[in-house]
Symmetry: D2
Subunit: 346 residues, 4 copies
């Protein structure tokens, strides 16, 4: 069975596993106080160009988003996000579970538009009295977005500018950040992202780790007693080393960037292949997720030999599906895919 | 530095790591739907003698306790626990964070006493009207307890009997269950535990895994839409295989039992050693945690070369500390400890 | 100062106050167990034609909506509402504060459209797997809506039909129900509403009481231990009699209907007057709230002598405001308003 | 039927009702922005000797305690209270429902002991690391306590001193504050209470009002966006005037003090009567609640003609019951009680 259903179908990159093996018997204190977490923090600070950054490691993306929102928001505040933002649509209400509303704005290719954000904030804070409404308390974006699209540096600068004028932290969910950084269509580097965002995550799970997201506060400390908040949310790993060792490996010798480059490179070849086969794209993505419109009958046959993800219904006769590549996608996978598409059509 | 501070200072047992390596490139669907989780579920069902058991894998103990309580309780119910129960004292209020009260009863050697539980429940449901109070909705015990002590089969039978009469699920936190099963002082087997409890956990983190707890519903399905509940609590791992592979390894060829036996065996030798040195025990434990009363001056010197955990103040001049052994404690660690104690006294 | 800013600017109808005086010294048990609550329940059951109805009294609308949602929903479910629904927009996130998401659909004149509801539910339950999304758990409508508009009987029948097919309770917020029932443009009676909805409220605060909403479960008991849920949400009044006496008065000799008729009658005269003055309406409402578009300069002068509510910005130069009438609006208020509009224009 | 079951069995004092009648038709804005709330705030500031106090009005005691705790605590903090504190035992888990733990200390005659509080805080903040525990975030006391007992000025000074040293707000639940102030056994005045506590409530419901508690921040503003917090908790009354008018009446011409004096005076005569009849007291109370030990057979007969509250089981043959007096207890009630006790014994 060919697998393009997601970028978390295989385990960790061999160098990550190797480092887990090497360090396995070295005794370390728990809960993120170990030497590997400390080393990984240093390497992430260097990669971000933020020597003062406060870096935490959590296990998953939904968890990290919810814990950060809970810690950053006052009880009367919510998270502003695009209607397609992961926190809005696909986290089973984890944000609301912490008591906070997700305040949605329209998505533009999966992205928040700075002008629309500003118009919303201006109206909220200018007209009348909004004491009976949920106050915007932070702004959530994802880079790449849930549709594989990317913010340009200019778009980020404008979003950051709006956020700073309204004193709202700009939070960037980087679950697939390696792929954003590796895209040939981006002008945003990691230090630039760190400069423009107030909090962001560096995704491990979908970029070569077994699990783990780094939560980075580039210019300030995490909220007070953050470790207790993490614990209270069931998000504190006893063997924090598991996360530290993995991020230490990912941020050694540019491995994180290389894995992103590999996934994006494979996605480029995938795009070419799908284009050659005449399969129409739902939207243009320069990262590792590709959204394609398939005729329902073809899709049924296709799925018997290749796994892709259902995304949404396109019309009565067609469906949008997602193909994802990852650090472990091999050239042969694409060759086999090409043959299988032909076979499904024959 | 000698390390006896906890049973989560080292990584995973080599066989667990080996299995992670072997399976690393095999593509599998996410969120616990992979073949390794399925295989591990089958092995756990067999080990428990519960062919119908519903088995879930989560990453940590506090997380598992909180998610289970949230899923099992009505909003107007709380968890009954000993005042020293982990959910009561050491989870940063994770249960309350889900909106539920922990209703505490006195601890007897770290344990809940069936007669005291019954007296509390009888009074609650018999006298007057308790509509303004939190209703008991489940009973939490840990085995071994936070003090390393164990319930006897007879004690568990009596607790289970009280719970069934009041229709309250009996939940057992088995974070260190391998050590309980391996104690030479227990008459409780895993199938018996599964028979007497309505829900229980099999701890991986403290018994040879990098992370992971199995949550077992031995005779019924988990609450409806449990996967969504897990997701909503930020507890759903994308690469669920990480947990499945580890538990699959732990429940192959009796590895889980062997790791418990090793930790408990080392604890037995540790007890002997401490007794020979004339160090007084705070209480009698037959599992891998040993609680010892140390004079404060001695403790200060001792900690320069050996890590143990602060437990509680004993009196002005003495402190209770915990020594923990694990699957990775080696005989040489005990020899070095013996020498270090002598040196600290000299 | 003329007051049209809301329907809660004055106290209670004199007959309600009179009944509070008459019953003041009669000792009664607390928490809604008094004879007046019991009598009011009986009268409400009769007025609804629901002899089996379970009726509860709470103090305010937001409170009642939030307590009902918390009690009716599973943790993994949310409330479906129009984007302008009170629970969605103007309750400061009270629903999310109980941990539940508000799932919004477009508003059509303030109303939910049955066809759009069905399309959403059909897609949710048919396509793919939605375990990572919040499940729809109940459907919220308001009658009249936040824009003073009304559902027709046919619209309610279609909504109820969709809800029943998907086994979702249909909840109707009747904060201004007296005005809905009294409109000359409605074909929905109280017994019909009770037949079509699974839960609904009968608003007191905005219809002649000092405070109070009746929460009616027409054909079943409230969720188990509902009194404890109410208490836990801080919504249980010690002197429950305050609510019982008021609803008893409102449902004696058709007072509730009469107060609605008065408010709506005054609104009809207000509409005529505003139309004569050439002031444009934002939308057509046949109840006690009228939404009018005012030029900003005029509005500024106007507000010096008459209070109305800011609703929303219409365009750069105009604002939508709300005029509300109530049981206490007098014909002279309208005469004075007419004169004041003329004066502001002169 | 004689009624001594609680101090909320009758309505409001006639002067309170009178004021509701007088002000009924005067139009006022909603949500506590009316002139009566403003006037009541001024009178309360004067009575407390706190010209800068921020005063809010809510409807009930449990609601007020929960909203205040939610607003004052960080997510990782809990409320310290005596095990018999209302927030701990009789509010159906309302505090936990907001996500916070109640951290209990032993009760001494229903009171928190300053020395025990200090010992707990000293141990918490001194020994080891408590990042995995709930941090104390505020201290809750009630005056009078749930057992009718009172803190002395000296006890309050010592509690306040401990709280200030640990930077924890001292919160006093004054649900029955009028009775505390009127006791002949107290040396604590309202200005002194205001000086020693950081937040406190002045109970209306149990001291002459239909409903209502004043929440007083004597020396600072309520937490930011407190109105939104109140709304979010379903605790914001649309007709806030209902609370303002009542507190305005209660704080005019010393009415609040007089109602307390009446209730306490009647309780004094009740004590005498019960003592004469030879009925033993469970504890000594100088306020309006009296706790008496009755033989179960006598209690059964007695309750056929007189209502009292079940408090707790004393032993197999006896029960502790509570007699409460209020502003509306009349001398004839005591005469009838005396006769009824005799009749039950005959």
């Amino acid at each position: 069975m060919l697998s393009f259903e997601s970028d978390y179908t295989t385990g960790a990159h061999p160098k990550v596993l190797e480092r887990l093996l090497e360090t396995n018997l070295d005794p370390q204190s728990g809960y993120g106080t170990d030497a590997y977490c400390e080393s990984a923090r240093g390497k992430i600070r260097a990669a971000c160009g933020c020597p003062e950054a406060d870096v935490w490691f959590l296990t998953g993306g939904t968890q990290t988003n919810a814990v950060a929102a809970a810690a950053l928001l006052e009880s009367w505040q919510g998270v502003v996000a695009a209607e397609t933002g992961h926190v809005s649509a696909h986290e089973a209400g984890a944000i609301e579970h912490t008591g906070h509303k997700v305040l949605t704005l329209p998505q533009r290719g999966g992205k928040l538009c700075a002008a629309e954000l500003e118009a919303y904030l201006a109206a909220f804070f200018a007209d009348g009295n909004h004491d009976h409404m949920v106050f915007p308390g932070m702004v959530y974006i994802s880079h790449p977005t849930e549709y594989g699209t990317l913010y340009t540096k200019d778009e980020l600068i404008r979003l950051a500018d709006v956020c700073r004028r309204y004193e709202l932290p700009l939070y960037c969910d980087g679950a697939r950040l390696a792929c954003a950084l590796a895209s040939c269509d981006t002008d945003v580097t990691l230090p630039e992202l760190a400069l423009l965002c107030d909090v962001f995550t560096i995704g491990g799970t979908k970029c070569g780790a077994l699990c783990g997201e780094a939560l980075v506060f580039p210019r300030r400390r995490a909220p007070r007693q953050f470790l207790t908040i993490v614990k209270q949310n069931g998000a504190l790993l006893a063997k924090g080393r598991l996360l530290g060792v993995q991020f230490d490996a990912l941020f050694t010798d540019g491995l994180y960037e290389k894995l992103g480059a590999h996934a994006v490179g494979m996605a480029g070849r995938l795009k070419e292949l799908l284009r050659e086969k005449g399969l129409p794209f739902f939207l243009e993505s320069s990262t590792n997720q590709q959204f394609v419109i398939l005729e329902n009958g073809f899709l049924e046959r296709f799925q018997r030999g290749a796994a892709v993800s259902f995304w949404e219904r396109f019309d009565e006769a067609h469906t949008v599906v997602r193909f994802a590549t990852s650090w472990s996608t091999a050239p042969e996978d694409l060759e086999r895919l090409s043959a299988w598409i032909d076979e499904c059509r024959a």
